[in-house]
Subunit: 459 residues, 4 copies
């Protein structure tokens, strides 16, 4: 039976806004809450870096990734640049950092080349921590003194969400960095238990209709999630769970990486020139697939969701899978958001009981939360396991306006040639997840915890 | 006053199908019509090459472009491979051409590297013409003998549309090829007359609603124009004409190419690394902008539509222009198609009276037709002047299915990282233009006759 | 027994100078001789191009190679630029050619990019011949009218030798160009006969001593062959013939291309990144090695000298061969020149009776001359078969001075990172060969007719 | 007056061997001497790293350079691999290091990619020091126990010289690494005093004759310095000192970097594509040239020798200088070695009194020694200031044989396309310098302390 079409064109997804305790804007919120959250988020970054040596925090494995220490400095730079710099009485920790730790804000000025972030040894780890402490001291003082305007509180919230994004990157970049070392060192040693066997995919049907897409209400969101607007969806079906390693190995065993008919043209070129034959981090040893994790190399768990695949692989898998499930394909981001927002309550959503224990164990700093799910959806594993590639290129919503000034460079200028991922992964800070969140990466990217959820057009 | 919202969700754009005499499928059409059209299209390719020397037809200026002679051979290969090869009694002209002139069809087999097409001197011009004559003889014989099945007649029609696409590329590739020569030779010498002054942009408003998008009915279309499906449009406005050279020069004079705030991140990188400071083919000499055309170098006509701009430049121009026209941006392809299909009749549409005389003169083999317009739209210059960049990435329509077999590689596998252009340029064969046609190029491409039409979101 | 050490420090290699009828400088020679030679050399270039289509003359297969038509134009440009341009009453054929056909003379001005020579379709073949005719007419008129000064006659001689160099490049570049075509077309169809079996290498010993190196006397030479100077040679031995294909196949069969211990570091990198496993133009089909020649693909003749090997391969072969012949290595250019100049007369030298019939047949326009050898040496195949890589980097002779002005850019500025080849190949115009001639190419170059002659240090 | 020609063909440069206290081979030397020297050299590497943070020791600025920590590990790997690995009872510190710290020894096995050395964070600084201690303990135990054979003692000596080479690279690579940081941090803060004004260049003449080149006698040398052999030198002159910054600025002010006529073809390409306009590390601020040093940025001292120039710049300077000094050019390595070995005693040689105080101050760990010069030569600053580019490509001496086994890969396989530098710089450990030493780098390299000494051919 088809699910009822429940969203009137301009309905409000009230459940989400209220379900997200972290999402309250500071503007208007009690001062103490802003302080508490600032301290918590800033501390979390240091907690991620805690098990690492100064050397580990130096490595840059590719232009797309950055050293952990750079993340620690750049997130601090963000607060200094956009909040403190123009505060009365503020003295910059080191005025040369404005150039050194600017990532891509042309409005702020020139930037140190991204590809060379791994060549910066000073400020070192200790000095970077002092930089963080300096900025924290200055900012907390002003927060306690109620000196921040409403606008500034809004920027503070952006800065905290910005830092949470970088917390995820710290982990994914670090994983890629340590992987360059043939010793394959572990971030933290943990033991694993295998997943229980999962059931066959169940297809949840959705009727056609006009739905509303994008963020609305009181909670925080980035500018690219707005404005809320209407789209028309033709009828479709969504898989109730993500594709497993066992299912992806079927594709591999069927020659998936050798058969151009499943691939986009650019995807096939990528497979050929990089000689891809499995997801990133996988090796085959004695007829057994293994994968590198932040706890070192372990066997691939057949029942866990496949992870570290590019858009090209997700798309090729879907095309191959349409032989089995007629009409199978990746979902659009509109379909994904709509499906998530109309689901029936499900005890296992976001609580991670189906969730990939393997990936979870990579991230002991983000234990899966127990108990009541935050989001009510029939889709298992929608949040907090693997990001789910959608078939949607990352484009502006109708009526989109980038923020004013330098912060307008945050999202809009990347709307070209990349694809949207939805959900959130085991590396995403849980307070940073929401159904309208639009993550985006280039189609060949594999170093994020990215996986596959299928959709179908009925035929 | 806002235009009425006239398209019910599944309406049929009957006007287009019936207005297009070339669009009838051969399947079911009188045999004589297929023959006539085959002869006409094939002759047109030779007519384009007629003013050229054997040397001119050899040049490949970049990987994206191909020599004219390669186009002559590859379009012939298409008919041979997909129609003749399996016909009883057919003998291949040279079986090695299967590899040599395959563009990108992995299902057919390996391909000679695209970047080396300019290194092939044999078959030469004369032998290539013999190859064409051989295939024409064989195909016409079978057409006259009624030996083609309905399916084969469908493929014949695809082959003719394929050849028309290559006719446009012959001209754009040739322009780029001759431009590499510091002598800047002309394809044909013509005289120019300047445009009349154009009026200020008039914004045509459209109401919100569900509209149908994509091709329907009897006429020919490519698989990527289907299935016809519904989309919801928020209210928007369309510019009644394209941006002129004078308007684009305003952007340049305002530092457009030096101000990163107008550019996509990848666009700004492209501007920097290629040191772009004007549209392709433009030079500045003694305070006067000139442009290279197929008739040699001529002054830039301030009233003609700007041409040979990339998506990056179109997008940056729109962002700059939103300072003048609040909410200005590029249109989505859905907006463009809807606007074109709901327009009031206009005598000048497609007849080219506003049309760029400069570009028209580059293409004397495609004279603008006089008299009654084929498409009824309030948008001047929608067809046959410059392709108009839309803000839409090129993605599959919901329910899209690629054609079976090798021809399924025609469109779908390129749905990644490129943008849709709509309309058609002065280099597009007029019988090849229709409102649902989806052209697509990478965002840095400039060698097509591509320009800018603005849209707006009301605020 | 060791050969006597016959060269006193400043002896003159009189035999060479007098044996070379082409080597007389025009300065001082009868006017008719200059005219005859000018006509002969200029006609030869056209004769090489005669079997080719306009398309064949367009192809540029890589940056190092040029289209045949470019060679025809550039050699003409040389006479126009360095001789005619400043002659009273001379009008340039087209003043824009100064830029277009300048190869690398910074003193003359900017140059059209080398990598784009294949993108120039105009002037076409016909117009290029008219350019040649124009310059010939002007130059011959002045020669007949005795209007050329002694200096100008010297430049004329350089121009003719320059054109002869380009005649060789026309053939080697053309071979590489046609090879890009999977049809592997032939320049001219010829039949082949196999070589007779050759004897085992015989090692000719030379005593230590001071020898003179470099050109001296009346004949023409380039500036890099001067000044004649003294070098001290330790005792050494020279192989009486070049390495054969059979001998090189032994190296290949012994894993030569898979064993890094035989290779220079840069050579091994080149082998790996280009996946070399045989000389250029070779294929293995059904257990039989074949090679592409200007007459199409033919079996490799085991007794012919190996050809189309790079310096890296020549050097690796020598290191491998030192297992068999202790001390085997490539000769220095001093050893090579000394060995050639002290040899006993040998009927087969330069007459090509041992010579590679295969290669000879590639170049029917340069039939091997019969009868009396021009150079008296015990080394078989020293001239006119394959260029022989020496172990000498290309450096200035002590006291070397580049010519004044633009012609000083001819040789000296390339003395960096390339290696000297000696002798001359089956593609070298025979009147262009002399024992002091220093050819030079980068160590990875393989498209010249380059082979291997071994030397040894006694142990 | 011309210096007497004092070297008979096979003379022995006795003075050098006996003057070098460090050069005694351990084979035959008292055990205690080997122990003392091993401890001294190994300690010196750690002393160089002492002022650095763990982060500083991580940076790799380009493929040619390596992190300091990699140098510390690789030099240890050398002893472990070539000496300890096959010793009875030896247990590898970590068997995976064989791959990880192999630089380029194919005979030992595959190597971790050179370009990724900066991506290795483990073993970290602490663990690397433990690795060093482990190998030191094992080796010293065996040295004390007299368990090393004569062959092994020879390898030990190679290992120490190898480590000394890397000590120089630690400093040059570190300088380049810190320079990537826009903060331009200092390795150690020092004060500078300016040079005294130097006299005009004095040209020391040398007569023609046969001289002996290469190492002979008891001291240590690398295989590429042998065998000692004879060469013939035409008469020449040598500059008594290196070119100063003031002299090089004259070249710059005369348009040296903008005039192609002074440059090798590859040099000019390098200047253009890298936009060189001064030596490496130089900036122009307020009409004053400054240079980055290991003590931070300081003004350029006009009287100090120019440093951090490539072969291309040295060669271009010489060609420019020949306008002033007819026949000026770079010396060959034979001329350099002969000139140094025939000089009259000079109190300032090697003692550094003329020596570049600026560079010296970069290297406080290598203070210039006072008192009696080690080498008797009329050439001031021949040793220990700047390496001096010679015009000689790096090639094998006649009769050269690479060492057996993996150590044969040390030198010979790089004899391609690079140029020889002679002397030694302020960064070279003084015990590592000798007149026959052949350093070699690619012609575009500038990050070594490399400068210019002119020679002349009399005209």
């Amino acid at each position: 039976m088809t699910k009822p079409f429940i969203h009137p064109p301009s309905s409000e997804p009230a459940t989400f806004a209220s379900a997200n305790p972290d999402a309250k804007e500071f503007a208007g919120a009690p001062r103490g809450e802003a302080l508490r959250r600032y301290r918590q988020v800033r501390a979390q970054s240091l907690r991620i870096a805690a098990p690492l040596s100064a050397e580990d925090c130096m490595v840059q494995s590719m232009e797309d990734a950055s050293p952990v220490r750079w993340h620690l400095a750049h997130t601090t730079w963000f607060f200094e640049t956009f909040l403190l710099k123009e505060q009365p009485g503020y003295t910059a920790f080191d005025p040369r950092f404005e150039f050194l730790f600017n990532s891509y804000y042309n409005s702020v000025g020139e930037q140190y080349p991204r590809s060379k972030r791994g060549m910066i040894s000073r400020p070192n780890q200790q000095e970077t921590c002092e930089y963080r402490a300096h900025v924290d001291r200055e900012l907390i003082g002003r927060l306690e003194g109620s000196e921040l305007s409403t606008d500034q509180q809004r920027i503070l919230e952006i800065g905290l969400n910005h830092e949470q994004q970088h917390q995820e990157l710290m982990l994914t970049d670090l994983k890629h960095a340590l992987f360059q070392n043939p010793l394959e060192p572990a971030y933290e040693e943990l033991t694993f238990r295998d997943h229980n066997a999962v059931d066959a995919i169940h297809w949840i049907p959705f009727e056609e209709g006009i739905v509303s897409l994008g963020h609305e209400g009181a909670g925080f969101c980035f500018d690219n999630e707005q404005p809320r607007h209407r789209v028309f969806l033709e009828p479709y079906q969504m898989a109730d769970r993500c594709v497993t390693n066992a299912e992806f190995i079927e594709f591999m065993d069927d020659g998936g990486y050798e058969r151009p008919e499943f691939w986009l043209s650019a995807g096939w070129d990528t497979v050929q020139s990089n000689q891809w034959s499995s997801p990133l981090y996988w090796n085959r040893e004695n007829d057994q697939w293994t994968q590198y994790t932040l706890s070192g190399r372990v066997p691939v768990d057949s029942q866990a969701p496949v992870c570290h695949v590019s858009y090209f692989e997700a798309d090729a898998y879907a095309r191959w899978a349409s032989q089995k499930w007629s009409g199978a394909r990746l979902a659009t981001e509109a379909e994904w958001e709509h499906a998530v927002c109309t689901g029936e309550p499900s005890a296992d959503d976001f609580a991670g009981n189906w969730c990939d224990q393997l990936q979870a164990s990579e991230l002991p700093v983000h234990p899966r939360r127990e108990g009541k799910p935050r989001f009510n959806t029939g889709l298992s594993g929608a949040f907090g396991n693997v990001w789910q590639w959608t078939s949607s290129h990352y484009s502006a919503y109708p009526g989109y306006e980038a923020a004013e000034g330098a912060l307008g460079e945050y999202n809009g200028k990347f709307m070209c040639g990349v694809f949207v991922l939805r959900g959130g992964s085991c590396a995403t800070p849980s307070g940073h997840i929401r159904p309208t969140y639009r993550n985006f990466f280039s189609p060949e990217s594999r170093w994020q915890f990215s996986g596959i959820r299928l959709a179908r057009s009925p035929r």
